[in-house]
């Protein structure tokens, strides 16, 4: 395991870490000199070469996304920052904004310069009231000191940044749902294509990036793509703030390079599983297929290892469960969550999530047979790949993986099916 200097969390723990004074004293905004010395296209190439992937869950290469913005439409270009952190199990953007809001602003300046945008909106989930205050404070400080506004640090580059408060809808973390919400509408995702990079906010080219993705950019601009790509693994470059919740003795978040084995993460950082042996891990937020203890043995915290284990890196925040956890109750919790959060515009999702939830209730009430389990799997197949956004798939994947990997837990709740009753009795 490499030891590298922290990039994202180096100010965490410093007194008044969120202030411009502390930020500047610890090298803040120093990437801007390199940034403005480059042409925007060179910045995009640099970020491409760094291998930085989107940290919001999808893991899309950041530089490549930026390169999709057409520069010849004559329309303004927008950056929308996704700070709608709502994926169950995920909680680290919260601390990025609280402890180092200027780092996010520095990343926003880098991104906007690269894509030629002069207006950025930070979409923060409505519950993050303190984070919104903190961001607004940082924006005021930065504007007064000439890091935002007109002619930033004499570069000739103008940029305004505003915070937009959400109001409690998980779906607004989906990038096009977020854009709808920014436009003052219900956060119902849009059909793609056109992709937001071409037709996004107010019909203009728009890039949507997660908080940690943008917070990673200043280090790349200051130290170069090669230095960044040397950290982590070939496919998962750089560092990330990994989180642990659920049944571990020490929950929390830690910045480290990609590549740590999951079991070392749980045992060393999490100080071991709490309350019994390890049963399962959801590796990157509740939408990711669940893994058994056995599957975790050779799992590493990388995009590629998660893919090889047929799950997803997601947000890099793992939920750990001990042997006493009843998987049926956990899945019921998730079916409730997704049916509650479905925006309702696509039938397979609106009906599918609700049916999965009703079937889980039936199972918990002791009214279901194994036929209902088969039905749940069939519904899951009909939910995935048939909707505008991936919320539907985000429930189909847990349903399938929970039932397939922990079938014994589910069968305990099943009453004998009619076909299992001997013929002479029926």
């Amino acid at each position: 395991m490499q030891t590298v200097e922290p990039q994202l969390t180096k100010r965490f723990g410093l007194k008044d870490s969120y202030t411009l004074k502390v930020f500047l004293a610890t090298g803040g905004y120093s990437s801007l000199k390199n940034l403005f010395a480059k042409k925007p296209a060179e910045v995009i190439e640099e970020v491409k070469a760094s291998g930085l992937k989107g940290r919001g869950g999808a893991g899309f290469p950041c530089g490549m996304k930026w390169s999709f913005v057409p520069q010849n439409t004559g329309k303004p270009i927008y950056l929308a920052v996704n700070a709608d952190e709502g994926e169950p199990g995920t909680f680290t953007d919260n601390y990025m904004m609280m402890n180092d809001p200027h780092l996010l602003l520095e990343g926003i300046i880098c991104a906007c310069y690269a894509i030629n945008s002069h207006m950025a909106y930070i979409y923060v989930r409505g519950e993050f009231y303190a984070q919104i205050q903190r961001l607004n404070g940082a924006i005021d400080e930065a504007r007064k000191a000439g890091y935002l506004g007109k002619n930033i640090q004499g570069s000739g580059f103008d940029l305004e940044v505003y915070v937009h408060r959400g109001a409690g809808a998980y779906i607004c973390g989906e990038e096009t749902g977020l854009l709808e919400s920014l436009e003052g509408k219900p956060g119902k995702p849009r059909i793609k294509p056109p992709f937001p990079a071409v037709v996004g906010l107010f019909g203009c080219p728009t890039i949507i990036n997660n908080v940690k993705t943008l917070s990673s950019v200043p280090w790349i601009i200051a130290n170069g793509a090669a230095a960044y790509a040397a950290i982590g693994t070939k496919e998962s470059t750089g560092t990330h703030v990994f989180g642990l919740s659920g049944h571990v003795n020490q929950t929390g978040y830690w910045e480290m390079p990609f590549g740590l084995p999951m079991m070392e993460f749980i045992n060393h950082y999490g100080k071991g599983v709490k309350g019994g042996a390890l049963k399962a891990v959801i590796p990157g937020g509740s939408s990711c297929p669940i893994l058994t203890a056995k599957e975790c043995e050779d799992l590493t915290l990388t995009y590629e290892s998660m893919r090889d284990h047929k799950t997803m890196f997601g947000t890099g925040c793992a939920i750990v469960m001990n042997e006493h956890v009843d998987m049926v109750k956990v899945l019921k919790n998730l079916t409730h969550f997704y049916s509650h959060e479905s925006c309702g515009q696509c039938t397979p999702c609106r009906e599918g999530t609700a049916w999965e939830d009703r079937l889980m209730k039936k199972l918990l009430d002791g009214e279901a047979t194994t036929q209902e389990l088969s039905m749940m799997l069939e519904i899951a197949d009909n939910m995935e790949g048939k909707t505008i956004c991936v919320l539907s798939a985000a429930l189909a994947m847990p349903v399938r993986s929970f039932i397939q990997k922990f079938r014994a837990d589910f069968e305990k709740y099943c009453k004998p099916s009619i076909s299992a009753v001997p013929a002479e009795i029926s």
Binding site: G86, G166, G246
Partner: protein
Amino acid sequence: MQFKPEVINEFEGIASRYPVRRAALLPALWLAQREFGFISVDAMKAVADMVGCSPAQVLETASFYTMYHKEKPGKYHLQVCQTIACLLNGSEEIKKTIEQKLGLKPGQVTADGKFSYQPVECLAACHNGPCMRVNDEYHENLTPEGVGKLIDDLKKK
């Protein structure tokens, strides 16, 4: 129901951040909730006037988002996270404690108007679960005893 002139001024400042006025609808609803306590039908009409869109558009947006209160909440609005990570660490006990102590079911307000209670979905404080929000403030690493004491303290306020 009307906004005070200074609130309209505040709103105009916010609206100037967007190229389209409708985009300021979520901020306008936040202002309405701050000023009027909740988003009544009259408040929606006032918002529509201020933003310059139809009352139906305001209803469409306001009803989509759970954080806009459609009815008057208690002075202390208890929002208990009930999603997976909090569930694993005991959110059911927290919900039970609140329900018994205040005699409330989800969505209800106490007769004196002091407390309202709503289980909510993931609050993004998973490592410190169980957690809840009291109005806009987070309370984390909750225990049934701690929540009981918190409610007693709030009762005295």
